[in-house]
């Protein structure tokens, strides 16, 4: 067991390191000429050289990767126009266009994405599991068929189109926008309601299908029949005995989904105008801001790998049937 967890951690770290090196190579070693872009159309050779030096672009590639890694672990110094600035430990360089540390930009953006994804999760988990449980109990009836049909259609509906239509036409929902939760929780919630509902209802379809299938399986198990024959009330059989067993596979899917949504919230963010991780990446793409692009890709990878790791480890505890050699 311990060996398995160790193995998973080592493989997770290897993935993160390779991702970092590969994306660094892609962004900084490809003939992208970031200094030329920053310098703009009216560029002089001395200014170009100065910019290249301040970005460490004049160093050999291996040294560039080395100092980037060093910056991530212990921090590094940047010298620009005779002024030296220290960049603290998880240092990912400075945004080319905003002049701010990338770490700071990411710290601002991450809570926005997290709020969207977690709020949406509350909606789709509650709607999906409830609808799935009800449909599973009435398996084969018209209600069940309608539910399954609806989930099929909602599930195949293009998400960005759905979000766009909600943003344009559902004007009765409160104005969207991001406000810090710590400043004003009420404003925070009202600014995110539209995004939560869209993300939640679109994903509720998939969770209805998962929990319906899982619930049908668990209601057919012996322990449910035993509970019934003991005279346990119907409601208790379904929600205490059946649902509890049915939730394990759903929880696993949820863990993996959550990580993907953290990096895929970009449509929700850009359509509802919420300044999250995806919006940061989009802006960096438009302005050719390589350090910010690299930073957000890195944070996204780490989040994804970490969540997968957590799910795998949690699964070995949640499901006693999983035995690892």
């Amino acid at each position: 067991m311990l060996l398995y967890i160790l193995k998973r951690i080592v493989s997770a770290i290897s993935v993160v390191i390779v991702t970092l090196v590969a994306s660094f190579a892609l962004f900084f070693l490809a003939p992208t000429d970031p200094a030329g872009v920053i310098c703009g159309p009216r560029c002089t050779p001395t200014r170009l050289a100065d910019i290249e030096q301040s970005l460490n672009l004049d160093e050999p590639p291996l040294e560039q990767i080395g100092s980037y890694m060093k910056g991530l672990v212990v921090g590094r110094d940047f010298t620009s126009g005779g002024v030296t600035q220290h960049c603290d430990a998880p240092c990912m360089g400075y945004s080319y266009t905003l002049g701010q540390p990338v770490t700071k930009l990411l710290k601002q953006a991450f809570p926005v994405t997290l709020s969207i994804v977690l709020g949406g999760a509350v909606v789709y988990l509650s709607v999906g599991i409830l609808a799935g449980t009800i449909a599973a109990q009435r398996r084969g009836t018209t209600l069940d068929k309608v539910t399954v049909g609806t989930t099929l259609v909602v599930n195949s509906f293009p998400y960005f189109v759905l979000a766009l239509l909600v943003a344009l036409y559902a004007t009765f929902l409160p104005q969207t926008g991001y406000h810090s939760f710590l400043d004003n929780p009420l404003l925070w919630a009202s600014g995110l309601v539209a995004a939560w509902l869209t993300l939640g209802l679109a994903n509720a379809a998939a969770y209805t299908r998962y929990s319906r299938a899982s619930m049908i399986e668990s209601l057919g198990q012996d322990f449910v029949r035993t509970a019934r024959s003991k005279g346990v009330p119907h409601r208790r059989v379904v929600y205490r005995h059946g649902l509890r067993a049915a939730l394990t596979p759903v929880a696993t899917i949820f863990g993996i989904d959550l990580a993907f949504q953290l990096t895929n919230a970009i449509f929700t963010e850009s359509i509802f105008g919420l300044p999250g991780l995806g919006m940061l990446t989009l802006r960096a793409f438009a302005q050719y801001d390589l350090p910010t692009l690299l930073g957000s890709v890195f944070v996204g990878s780490v989040a994804l790998v970490l969540m997968n790791l957590l799910v795998d480890i949690a699964y070995t505890f949640l499901d006693p049937r999983v035995r690892l050699g």
Partner: protein
Amino acid sequence: MEPMIEDSGVAESAESRTETTERTPAGRQNARTRSKSPTAIALERLRRDKVAMVCATIFGLFILIAIFAPLLTTLEGQDPTTYHQDLLDDYGFPTIAPNGEHWLGIEPRLGRDLFARFVYGARPSLIVAGSVTALTTVIGVVVGLVAGFAGGWVDRVLSWCIDFVLSLPYLLFAIAVPAVLLSIFVGSAEGAPPDDVARARFFSLIIVLSFFGWANLARLIRGEVLSLREREFVAAAKVLGVPTHRVLFKELLPNLVAPIVISVSLALPQYIVTEAGLTFLGVGLTEPTPSWGVTIASAQNYYRADPLYLWLPVGAITVLVLSLSLLGDSVRDAFDPRTRR
């Protein structure tokens, strides 16, 4: 567990219940005269599925629109790139309603013909999604076959690659990588002619989507091969001295038709959505390519003044993706051996 087993019942149960009486004797007769391959059986089930047939027809219609786009626009007498500035008022709004000359009216601001933009817009969606699906399927099948059959360090390396690709934040990369590819293809992004940029965007989109798409299928195929290679017919082929590539492609591949067909039919609509979505965000295809994603992005500002402008591409993409997804679900039900009753 995927809930596919239950879903199959909805569309089929009504027909199959009425048909069982006639089908059983006919099926017995067939079995005596000639045997059917699993693929033939699956196609027969698919043909009986009304939802699947309707969806396939809609998909066929879109393909016809894409193929005959030049013909359709010639019929109308317009093309997708001419600016009809004379038909716009001072604020950029069209002064004409849809009429015989412009069947669906013209765009606000630029004045291009909407019908022509619509029919030509079917092309990039289908070409991008089609080629990405083809590429990812070929790569996924080959990698999966090799990894599963070779075993040992080959399998370990390929499996690591699969896990690696699957654990990348794919949408973030899909945004970041074209920025780099673009500068490789056309040099400085600032001065390049828009046609070159549009073409570079087109190819970088296909490359990026293909790079991230193959891993899922490869994992699936690898798993199947791991169990198939222990079967007697593979051992027999090996003993007879059949060369490895023939074992892979003549012995193993025919047994993998079902997972491959299922994966293709589910991937196609997914890539259409991804292409349109990325284009909508401004990181996919660009002007002057006529694309539904581009049109949706610019039309969202006119959703009140000119609803048709927005709803045309929105409706097209929704209908296309919905029908393809439902078709994919039916294909899965028809080909998946677990749903056979």
